[in-house]
Symmetry: C2
Subunit: 88 residues, 2 copies
Amino acid sequence: MGFIEILGLIAGICTSSAIIPQIITTIKRKKAKDVSVFMFVVLSTGNSLWIYYGVEKSDMPIIATNILALSLNVVMIVLKYNYRKAKS
Amino acid sequence: MGFIEILGLIAGICTSSAIIPQIITTIKRKKAKDVSVFMFVVLSTGNSLWIYYGVEKSDMPIIATNILALSLNVVMIVLKYNYRKAKS
């Protein structure tokens, strides 16, 4: 794996893991009122398309990091749904 | 521009513009308490690295959409800072 692939993985880890503080904040506060579920649905759609794009271009950094991002975004959607249910 | 490049642009527009609902919510509520500024700094770092990665790989969808994402993330950081200053 060359320097550029490593750089792509670091970039992808940044853009994917950036959601983790938001997940932690949501779990701590047991509240997700300010969090827009539409945003995470659109993000997950984008991640899925990027995975397809990465496979077509055999671009490992794009594939790996968007699989990570997709999983984290799905976690956020589940949390948002959970805390909305918990309130009602 | 081939099908795959168009797909990459759509993917990038999804992952970049997903932040727009969060920006609108923040402007409407004039509040960004639940929004983690650390997340947007990490996202912006990732976008910058992806732009470098895209340039090295001459991958237009990656370059174009991460420039869009970087601008939107910077807007979010400015809003977060504005509404924090407005409260103090």
